[in-house]
C-alpha cells in the first residue's frame, strides 16, 4: 500500500497527532506565544499596583538617603553613652550641721585641703586616722558653743573607727571641697601653688609688669582670701591662665587672669626661684 492510497483525512489526523506529540514534548506553542508576549512586553501597560509600589519603594529609598545624609552632616556630636549618673559622694544633713562623704570624696577633699597651708591639719592625729583601711566614709559634725567640730571615720554601719577634731576653717573648707564635684583649679595641666608662693613671686616682678599682670585693686582684693593659686600650661597662642581660689562666707570663689607671654616668662622665672 503506497502513501497515495491513504485518505487525506488520515494524513491530516496523523499529522495532527504528530504535531500534538511534538508539542507535548517540546511545548513549542507555549514557547512561541511566550516569546511573542515577551517581545511585546514593553508595549503593554504595567499594573497600577506595581507602579504604586515602585513609587513607594523609590520614595522610601529617597527619604532614607536624605535622613542618612542629615545624620552624617549633623553638627551635633553622636548621642553620648547612657549617662552613668554616679551615686552622690557627699551629703549635707540637718541643714548643714552634719556632712557625710564617701572615702574617695573625702580623700579628694583632703588632698585639696593639704594644698591650703593655713588650714593644714595636724599631721600626726590625722595620719593615724587616714591610715585605717576599714573606713568607708566620714561623718563631719559641726560643733557649737561647747562642742568641737568632729570628723568621724566610720564603716558602712556608721561604727566609728577613729575620730579627730576640726577647726572651723577646716570644717568649712572640707564642706566646700566635698560639695564641689570639680573646681576650676583641679584640672589637668594646672599647677597649684600656695598663695604665699605665688604672690611673693608676683611682688618680685617690676612694678609695671606686675600691674600689667594683676591690677592693684584685684591684688588687694584676692590676696588675703586666696587659699590656692593655679597656673595653667601655656596655650598654643602663648597665653597662660592664672586662677586664684579664694574662700569667704563658706564659699569657694575663683578669679581668673590671663597673662601675656612677656609677663608669663617673668612670672615663671620668679616662681621657679621661689620654693613651692
Amino acid at each position: 500500500m503506497s502513501w497515495r492510497s491513504l485518505s487525506p483525512l488520515t494524513v491530516v489526523l496523523g499529522g495532527l497527532l504528530v504535531f500534538l506529540l511534538i508539542e507535548f514534548r517540546l511545548n513549542f506553542l507555549e514557547r512561541g506565544m511566550g516569546a511573542y508576549l515577551d517581545y511585546h512586553n514593553p508595549e503593554r501597560p504595567r499594573l497600577a499596583k506595581f507602579v504604586q509600589q515602585e513609587t513607594r519603594n523609590i520614595e522610601a529609598r529617597q527619604k532614607l538617603e536624605t535622613l542618612l545624609d542629615q545624620r552624617a552632616h549633623r553638627a551635633e556630636p553622636r548621642e553620648p553613652a547612657p549617662a552613668a549618673v554616679a551615686p552622690s559622694e557627699f551629703v549635707e544633713l540637718e541643714g548643714g550641721q552634719k556632712l557625710v562623704m564617701t572615702r574617695a570624696r573625702f580623700l579628694d577633699a583632703y588632698q585639696k585641703l593639704e594644698q591650703t597651708p593655713r588650714a593644714l591639719p595636724p599631721s600626726s592625729e590625722w595620719d593615724a586616722a587616714l591610715r585605717h583601711d576599714r573606713w568607708g566614709k566620714t561623718i563631719l559634725t559641726r560643733g557649737g558653743w561647747f562642742r568641737k567640730n568632729r570628723l568621724f571615720f566610720v564603716d558602712d554601719q556608721n561604727k566609728v573607727l577613729s575620730e579627730v577634731s576640726l577647726s572651723t576653717e577646716q570644717f568649712a573648707l572640707l564642706r566646700a571641697y566635698g560639695a564641689a564635684d570639680l573646681s576650676q583649679i583641679d584640672r589637668p595641666h594646672i599647677q597649684v601653688y600656695p598663695p604665699q608662693t605665688f604672690f611673693a613671686a608676683l611682688r618680685t616682678l617690676p612694678e609695671p609688669i606686675r600691674d600689667q599682670a594683676m591690677n592693684r585693686e584685684t591684688l588687694s582684693d584676692v590676696e588675703d582670701r586666696a587659699i590656692r593659686v593655679g597656673v595653667s600650661d601655656a596655650s598654643a597662642d602663648g597665653l597662660i591662665q592664672v586662677i586664684v581660689e579664694t574662700f569667704g562666707d563658706d564659699q569657694l570663689d575663683y578669679t581668673s587672669i590671663t597673662l601675656s607671654e612677656e609677663t608669663m616668662q617673668a612670672l615663671l622665672q620668679a616662681l621657679g626661684g621661689v620654693s613651692r
Binding site: 511585546h40 501597560p45 506595581f50 551629703v91 544633713l93 557625710v100 556608721n158
Partner: protein, 668 residues
C-alpha cells in the same frame, strides 16, 4: 459513497479546525493587550521588608517580625524538604512544562465539562499560581484563566525555573498573615526556612492550597491530614520512602507562634511599629528595608506572655468567667484583660510588653494606649513629694482620722475613706503607705497642694493628663502601665529618671545607622528621697497590702505598691527589683467591676500580683540576688509604728524598721 462521505467529513473537520485556529488567533490577539507588562525581576516587586529584631538568650539579635514587603530568601536558603514537598504536592512536572501542565489541564477540562462547570476544577501549575498571585484576581472566570495561562507562558520564557520557584516560595500566602516561606517558618515554627524539618516542611507545603482551611492553629486535624497527603505525594515522587512518609505523618506538630501577629510579643512589635511610623512615616517603615533592633528581651517577653496567659486563666475561674479558649470571638472581646510592662531600670530599655491576652482577638494595646486609674498605685508619687518637699520621713507621725475637704462647689465637701472604712489614729508614714491609707494621702496632697504633686508626677515621666485636684490622692487620673512602670523605676535607680524606649538602633539594609538610642538619664529627685519612699514601698511588700508577693514565693529584694480603683474596676501592682520595674494591670475593657464568684471585690493584690510574681520569678531567675544600694545619708531605725519613737523591747508587734535621713556615728 464512503469516499464521498469521508471527503465531506474531512472538509468539515478541516474547516472547523481552521475556524478554531482563526478564533484562537483572534482571541490571542484580543487578550494580549489585557495582560499586564511583566517586571524585570520577580523578586523585587514588593520591596524589601523591614526586619525587626529582639534580643536572644546570649544577647544576639533574633528576627521577630517584619513590616511590609516580603521576607525573601534565596532558594538555597530554603530546606530541600520544603522544596520537594511543594513540588510534589503542587506541581510535580514543574521542571518539564512551559507554564501549563497540558495533560492535567485536559483532565480538569473533561471533568469540568462533565460537571458543566467550565472553571470548576483547576490544574494550575506553580507558574500559573504565581501569575495569579502577582497579576490577576482570584475570580473564577475563563477569561482570567486564559490570561493567567498566557502570562505563565511569558513568565516561563522570561525567567528561569529557579527564579520562578523562588518567587513563588517568597510570595505565596501561607495563612496567619505570613507571606513567603521565611515568614511562614517564623510564624508557625519560630525558625528559618533553612531549618525546617521534614514534618514541618510538609505541613507548610500543604497550606498554600487553602491556608484558612488547613490553618493548624484553627484546625489541626485537617492540617495533619493535608500533611499526610503531601508526604504521600513526596513518596510517590521518590523524594522520600513510603516508610519515611508514614513515620513522619504520625509525628505530632509543635507550633511555636500565635495565630495572628508575630509569635513573639505581638503587642511589643505593634508598639515598635507605631513609634517607627511616627518618626519615619509608613512608607519608609514598610518599604525601606530597614533593620530595627528593639529592646525586647525574648526570654522576658515570653515569660511575660506566659505569666499573663496562665494567671488570667486562674482569674477567670476566680471571677466565674468561662474558660477563655472555649468561648466565642465576641465573648473573648469582653473577657478579662491584663497588661504588663517591664523596664530595665539601669537603662530605661523596655524588655517586655503584653498589651492584652490575645492579639488575634484585640489589637488594642493596654500597656501603652490605655488610660486607667492607678488607684493607690499613685500614692508613692504623693509620698515622694511629701518626703522631698516637706521633709517627711518614714517615721514621721501622721493622724489617720475622718477628714473633709471643701471642693469649692458650694457646700459640697470631699470625705475620703480608707478601703477598710476605719481609722488608725496616729501612725507613722511608712505604716500609712504599707496599709495604703487614703486619708493620709489626701492629707498629704492637701498640705503639698495638687499642683506640687502633679509636678512630681511629671518629674517621674508621667505625661498623661493629671487634673490638679485633691482626688489625685486616690489615683483618679488615668495613666498607662508603661508610664507607671517608668515612674516606679525612678525609685529603683536612686532618683534617676530614664525615659523608656523600645528601639535601640535602626539601620538600613547596608548597615548604615539611622538612629541609635542608648538611653538618657536625668536626676529628678535626691537619692535619699527616692530611697525613703522605696523603703516605705518595701514595707508594703514585707507586711502591707502587697504581702501576697512574699506569700507567692518571690523572695528577692523588691518593693512595690498595689492599686485598686473604686468597685475594683482596675487591679494594679507596680513593683520593682534593683534591675527590673514591672507594672501589671488587670481589668475589663468596659470597666466592669472585678468581683469574685462570692461577690467580694478583687484587689490589686489578688488580681495583679500573681501575674507580677509569676513573671518576675522567671525574669530574675538568672540574676544573683542583690539588694538596693543605700545612698549616703540614710540610716535605719527600729521605731514604734504608732509613735515613731525608738522601739522598746515591749514594742515587738508595733516595732518597724524604717529608713531615715541621717548619719549617727556609733561609738564601739
Amino acid at each position: 459513497m464512503t469516499a464521498s462521505l469521508l471527503r465531506r467529513l474531512f472538509y468539515a473537520v478541516g474547516g472547523l479546525l481552521v475556524l478554531a485556529g482563526i478564533g484562537l488567533l483572534v482571541l490571542f490577539f484580543t487578550i494580549i493587550p489585557t495582560i499586564p507588562q511583566l517586571p524585570d525581576r520577580l523578586d523585587e516587586i514588593f520591596g524589601q521588608p523591614t526586619e525587626v529584631y529582639g534580643i536572644g538568650p546570649s544577647g544576639e539579635p533574633v528576627l521577630v517580625a517584619t513590616f511590609g514587603g516580603r521576607m525573601r530568601v534565596p532558594l538555597d536558603q530554603m530546606a530541600d524538604e520544603f522544596k520537594h514537598a511543594l513540588l510534589a504536592v503542587e506541581d510535580d512536572r514543574f521542571y518539564e512544562h512551559h507554564g501549563v501542565n497540558k495533560l492535567a489541564t485536559v483532565r480538569a477540562l473533561i471533568s469540568n465539562l462533565r460537571s458543566r462547570d467550565l472553571v470548576g476544577q483547576g490544574a494550575s501549575t506553580i507558574t500559573q499560581q504565581l501569575a495569579r498571585n502577582l497579576f490577576f484576581s482570584f475570580e473564577k472566570r475563563w477569561k482570567r484563566k486564559l490570561r493567567e495561562m498566557l502570562a505563565s507562558f511569558q513568565i516561563e520564557t522570561r525567567f528561569s525555573k529557579d527564579e520562578i520557584l523562588s518567587a513563588y516560595c517568597n510570595h505565596i500566602y501561607f495563612g496567619a498573615n505570613a507571606y513567603g516561606i521565611e515568614s511562614a517558618a517564623q510564624t508557625y515554627f519560630g525558625k528559618h526556612a533553612s531549618e525546617l524539618l521534614l514534618g514541618e516542611a510538609a505541613l507548610l507545603a500543604g497550606l498554600p492550597q487553602a491556608p484558612s482551611v488547613y490553618d493548624p492553629y484553627k484546625n489541626m486535624p485537617l492540617a495533619l491530614e493535608r500533611r499526610r497527603v503531601v508526604l504521600d505525594r513526596m513518596a510517590v515522587n521518590g523524594y522520600i520512602t513510603p516508610e519515611q512518609a508514614r513515620q513522619v505523618a504520625d509525628e505530632p506538630v509543635v507550633l511555636k507562634g500565635t495565630a495572628v501577629g508575630p509569635a513573639r510579643g505581638p503587642y511589643f512589635i505593634d508598639y515598635v511599629r507605631h513609634v517607627m511610623i511616627e518618626r519615619y512615616g509608613v512608607d519608609l517603615v514598610d518599604y525601606g528595608g530597614l533593620k530595627i533592633y528593639t529592646t525586647m528581651d525574648i526570654r522576658l517577653q515570653e515569660a511575660a506572655q506566659e505569666a499573663v496567659k496562665e494567671k488570667l486563666a486562674e482569674l477567670d475561674e476566680a471571677v466565674g468567667d468561662s474558660v477563655f479558649q472555649t468561648i466565642s470571638l465576641e465573648q473573648k472581646k469582653n473577657a478579662l484583660q491584663a497588661a504588663l510592662v517591664a523596664i530595665e531600670t539601669k537603662t530605661g530599655a523596655v524588655r517586655a510588653i503584653v498589651g492584652g491576652r490575645d492579639f488575634a482577638v484585640s489589637e488594642y494595646n493596654r500597656a501603652v494606649q490605655s488610660n486607667r486609674h492607678p488607684g493607690s498605685g499613685f500614692k508613692p508619687v504623693i509620698y515622694l513629694a511629701a518626703v522631698d518637699r516637706l521633709g517627711y520621713m518614714p517615721n514621721t507621725v501622721v493622724v489617720d482620722e475622718p477628714v473633709s475637704f471643701p471642693t469649692g462647689d458650694g457646700e459640697a465637701v470631699w470625705e475620703p475613706q480608707n478601703f477598710s472604712r476605719d481609722h488608725q489614729g496616729e501612725v507613722i508614714l511608712k505604716k500609712a503607705l504599707m496599709r495604703s491609707l487614703n486619708v493620709i494621702s489626701a492629707k498629704l496632697i492637701d498640705e503639698l497642694t495638687p499642683p506640687a504633686v502633679v509636678d512630681y508626677a511629671r518629674r517621674l515621666g508621667i505625661t498623661s493628663k493629671l487634673p490638679p485636684l485633691l482626688s489625685l490622692a486616690l489615683g483618679t487620673a488615668g495613666v498607662s502601665p508603661l508610664e507607671i512602670a517608668a515612674a516606679y523605676a525612678v525609685f529603683a535607680t536612686e532618683g534617676i529618671y530614664r525615659p523608656p524606649f523600645v528601639i535601640a538602633r535602626v539601620e538600613d539594609s547596608r548597615g548604615r545607622v539611622l538612629e541609635e538610642t542608648k538611653g538618657q538619664s536625668k536626676r529628678v529627685v535626691s537619692e535619699q528621697s527616692a530611697y525613703l519612699v522605696l523603703d516605705m514601698m518595701r514595707g508594703a511588700v514585707e507586711g502591707g497590702t502587697a504581702f501576697t508577693v512574699r506569700q507567692l514565693g518571690f523572695d528577692r529584694p523588691c518593693a512595690g505598691k498595689t492599686g485598686t480603683t473604686s468597685d475594683s474596676k482596675d487591679a494594679w501592682f507596680n513593683g520593682f527589683t534593683p534591675t527590673l520595674a514591672t507594672s501589671v494591670w488587670v481589668g475589663y475593657d468596659d470597666a466592669r467591676p472585678l468581683k469574685r464568684i462570692k461577690g467580694r471585690e478583687m484587689t490589686g493584690a489578688a488580681g495583679a500580683i500573681p501575674i507580677w510574681v509569676e513573671f518576675m520569678k522567671r525574669a530574675t531567675e538568672q540574676e544573683s540576688k542583690r539588694d538596693f544600694p543605700v545612698p549616703l545619708g540614710i540610716e535605719f531605725l527600729t521605731v514604734n509604728s504608732k509613735t515613731g519613737a525608738a522601739a522598746t523591747p515591749a514594742d515587738t508587734v508595733a516595732a518597724l524598721r524604717v529608713a531615715v535621713r541621717g548619719a549617727t556615728p556609733v561609738t564601739q
